[in-house]
């Protein structure tokens, strides 16, 4: 998938205002790093090296430091992902309730095929994640910010149709 990166600054207008509100809370600028990365990801869909450099500039950090933090946390995308980013829990409690089958069905029916890969139409990226914290509602699946409980193999076709 070829990507044209938006080279305009992220932190302008309303996004900058949102960041400034966070900066007002804490005694250090650095404490606004995770919130700043969330804001940037919401705007651009992922965190590019260029965005990391901008975040570093705005918060008075080095780009290398920002990259070290970005790479520690699993939810910041260091590459563009599909329009629908799907996270499937396969940790033990969900695993014994059929999570691996749900993952397989999602990979097949979205056309993403391999975990972490994006479908050729650019619509879907499906990944396997560790515990989503909803073990009594196996299998939980996150589609972007929609947290969907109790997904079974049988429910996958309807789920895929809903977002298609």
């Amino acid at each position: 998938m070829s990507v044209t990166e938006d080279t305009q600054p992220v932190f302008t207008g309303a996004v900058l205002e949102a960041l400034q509100a966070v900066l007002g809370r804490y005694p250090t600028k650095q404490a606004a790093l995770l919130p700043a990365l969330w804001l940037a990801q919401r705007e651009r869909g992922w965190i590019s090296d260029r965005v990391m450099a901008e975040v570093a500039e705005v918060l008075g950090l080095t780009p290398a430091y920002v990259k070290g933090v970005v790479t520690f946390y699993t939810m910041y995308h260091q590459h563009p992902v599909g329009k629908h980013f799907v996270q499937v829990c396969t940790t033990s409690p969900c695993n014994i309730c059929g999570a691996e089958g749900v993952l397989k069905a999602l990979l097949e029916q979205t056309g993403a095929r391999d975990a972490g890969a994006t479908s050729p139409d650019g619509n879907w990226t499906v990944i396997e994640v560790e515990c989503l914290g909803a073990c009594g509602f196996a299998t939980p699946v996150l589609v972007n910010d929609d947290f969907i409980e109790s997904v079974t193999v049988e429910k996958v076709p309807a789920l895929v149709r809903k977002y298609r």
């Binding site: 910041y76 940790t91 409690p93 914290g133 009594g136």
Partner: protein
Amino acid sequence: MGFPHQPHPKETVVLSQYFGDPDARTYKGWVKRGGYEALRNALATAPAAVVEQVKESGLRGRGGAGFPTGLKWSFMPKAKTRPHYVCVNADESEPGTFKDREIMRWTPHALLEGAAIAAHAIQAEVVVIYIRGEFTEPWAITEKALAEADAAGVFGTIKVYLHRGAGAYICGEETALMNSIEGKRGNPRIKPPFPAVAGLFGMPTTINNVETLAAVPHILNRGAAWYRGLSLSNPQSTGTKLFSVCGHVQRPGNYEVTLGFPLKDLLYDLCGGPLPGRTLKACIPGGSSVPILTREETEACLLDYEGVVASGSMLGSGGVIVFDDSTDMVYQIMRLARFYAHESCAQCTQCREGTAWTTKILERILAGQGKTEDLDLLLDLSENMTGKTICVLSDSCAAPIVSGIKKFRGEFDAYLAGARSPVPVG
């Protein structure tokens, strides 16, 4: 109540009374149910007296360690010379645990009220609630509740902020959580100094779990003696606790019982027992970081801090994972080891290497390529992963491995002897 199921008569409903009731999420709805009275009264009481009440109640931390809450609060400096902080650990990520999520989804004001009471008790001006990044729904609901409570001015001079995690189990470790708020990688810190001396931004800090704080308004409203009286087996474990039950039971969900409740009754009566035609094989009673219990141990276990230890495990977070006779224990122990390998922050060698190598060895046993000495090697590695690192993540990886080999050795031996078909591990 047994959310998402009907309440069971054997439950003691305190924290979960309004689970499933959307009106309780609103500020007006919460006030109508007696909400924020405890905070109003607390703000008119001397901080030390509030700490004393919580001490008297016997409340212990519900996040996993079970440390007495009032005692923790009393460690904060009495003389106020620097800013004080309250951190709320809402990074619920322990496999098997999903109770804080329900508290935030249905009774966010209980958490906000408890957190503000804690802030008053330890003389903090700021509360930071750290919510795991994947909890999109609890975040949205708590954010809305906070905006409403702020607009009503109930917190006085106390500021309450939400801070979003970004995918890292280790940030549920208290000092890793503080580093994460500070905009750092979530590496746990060496202790001492403990947070009451140098916590968030190096300032005196108290960190409590969501469920712990949600219990505080009830204690202030109904009295420490009432809470202390909620105890079935021993006076060191008081109050009610939410148990998240998942895996192979008929009605998984959150159930609230008085501490000391029999695990057998929780699983067979409240949760409806094993799935049709199945029998219980094993149970992890306190989140994936604690030792596995056999069926016999499970059926004799009392759910309080000391009772679960006597049964050979720990109460932990109260995340109960149930495995029936269809379960391949070797495969599930590998999945748990893989979880810890994925979540290791990698600062300590024993953890970084130990979690990765135990996972690889378990994978090779499952693939039919195990060697006879592999079980001893796993136990040796586990020994080196226990009690030797900055935090307990590697101990947590070792717990299911050691208890699994000890209690379900036959299943490991079957793979090693080629008596069981190899399992593809992806």
